[in-house]
């Protein structure tokens, strides 16, 4: 354990990215050097802590439990999605998300069972970053956030209200809140095994590949799957 305290800061210091001399910064990513350093730090934390824990969780926990946990956090996300549907004036989608929240919270035992999907109500995936995008707020520079991963200034700001109004953080006991936050992180990481393997297989330089994919994916979400065509498409 002692060695960990020596190794970890050393690794963090080592996680200082350098760019090739004739590297040209992308206009979307002026802070690439800092972002790459944070990305390396994230990878280290992932390899040392998050990934092994998520792997153990996937191996040990019965599939039904994993599904229940995913559904539970997904249900909270549905509520937040409904709020953002309303903020964007998307009444149909708000109705779907609210319907999902009500059905799953009551008959689905607090969201552990996703009855709404079985009933054919599609899951929404709105968040405050998308709401800001919907109302024309530009993305701002790309940001690699510590522990949270790829983002940009707009989506990073968009995270603040979801933290502030997060029902998990409102739990009475700090320890319970901490445990739930940890479980949510594990659930999220467990859901990323396929994506992570795919990114490693596909990319020459994972950082650039992930950045392109993140920016494109967020644009696609803001326009609900119908982004305006750009000249180089």
């Amino acid at each position: 354990m002692k060695s960990l305290f020596v190794v970890l800061p050393a690794l963090m210091l080592g996680a200082c990215a350098s760019l090739p001399p004739n590297h040209q910064l992308s206009p979307a990513d002026p802070y690439e050097k800092a972002n790459r350093s944070v990305g390396m730090f994230n990878e280290i934390v992932d390899i040392m802590f998050l990934k092994p824990v998520a792997k153990a969780y996937v191996t040990v926990a019965p599939e039904l439990v994993q599904k229940g946990v995913s559904n539970f956090f997904g249900n909270i996300a549905d509520g937040w999605s409904a709020v953002n549907d309303i903020l964007q004036g998307k009444t149909d989608k708000a109705g779907d998300d609210l319907g999902r929240l009500l059905l799953n919270t009551t008959f689905g035992f607090g969201g552990v069972f996703d009855l709404a999907t079985d009933a054919g109500i599609d899951k929404g995936n709105e968040d405050f970053g998308q709401t800001l995008g919907f109302w024309g707020v530009p993305t701002g520079p790309y940001l690699m956030l510590p522990l949270l991963g790829p983002s940009n200034v707009r989506d990073g700001l968009g995270l603040l209200p979801s933290f502030l109004f997060d029902p998990i953080s409102k739990l009475s006991s700090g320890a319970t809140s901490f445990a739930f936050t940890g479980l949510r992180a594990i659930d999220t990481r467990a859901g990323l095994f396929t994506t992570d393997a795919l990114l490693n297989q596909a990319s020459l330089d994972k950082y650039t590949y992930v950045r392109s994919a993140y920016l494109k994916r967020r644009e696609n979400l803001v326009y609900d799957g119908k982004p305006p065509k750009t000249e180089d498409d």
Partner: protein
């Protein structure tokens, strides 16, 4: 005799619809995706051996994917600065990379069913987008294939997963490598990646 003519006309009409159904862009996508999925499911060793997988995918995907156009799309402006030999080498390497990525994408969902939505198109259309979805929990994964008509057959020239193109997503990466070490540098990086 008249009846015979009628009969053969009918048979011909049936044969024509069968051929059309065979070559319709949505049918191409359905066949290829299902064949690759079925093979990955049936033969676990396929995923473990890059050589075996490469040969198999080459046989399944090459007739149905326009890899030259894909490579040109991924290269963007740099494509025209490459010599014909470089273009050939780039296409060969990019093809291997895409084949592997495509199969590992499908392998992640090999227990799931692919739903290919029927394409609404006019007879004169030469480009269409075939939309598919893979059921995965509450939010299905959407995979779209951009298809072009090449002679009598349809070929895919772009594959988009959840709005992100597996092809154009390489543009920034390729640009960086080319700026730092030229087109030959990119060929070398791709070769190293595919080893």
């Amino acid at each position: 005799m008249k009846l015979f003519h009628k009969m053969s006309a009918l048979v011909l009409a049936f044969a024509a619809t069968a051929v059309m159904a065979q070559t319709a862009p949505d049918a191409v996508v359905k066949n290829v995706a299902n064949e690759v999925l079925a093979a990955l499911k049936a033969d676990a060793s396929l995923g473990a051996s890059p050589q075996k997988l490469g040969a198999f995918l080459d046989s399944k995907l090459s007739p149905n994917f326009n890899f030259t156009r894909m490579t040109a799309l991924a290269m963007g402006r740099n494509w025209r600065t490459a010599s014909p030999e470089q273009q050939k080498a780039l296409t060969a390497e990019f093809k291997t990379l895409l084949n592997r990525t495509y199969s590992s994408a499908l392998a992640g969902y090999k227990d799931k069913a692919i739903d290919v939505r029927p394409v609404k198109m006019a007879a004169s259309d030469t480009e269409v987008i075939v939309k598919t979805s893979i059921a995965s929990g509450a939010s299905p994964i959407l995979i779209d294939y951009s298809m072009e008509k090449a002679g009598d057959s349809w070929k895919a020239y772009d594959v988009t997963v959840a709005g992100v193109s597996l092809v154009t997503n390489y543009r920034d990466e390729f640009n960086n490598v080319i700026r730092e070490s030229g087109i030959d540098g990119l060929i070398k990086s791709l070769q190293a990646k595919n080893k």
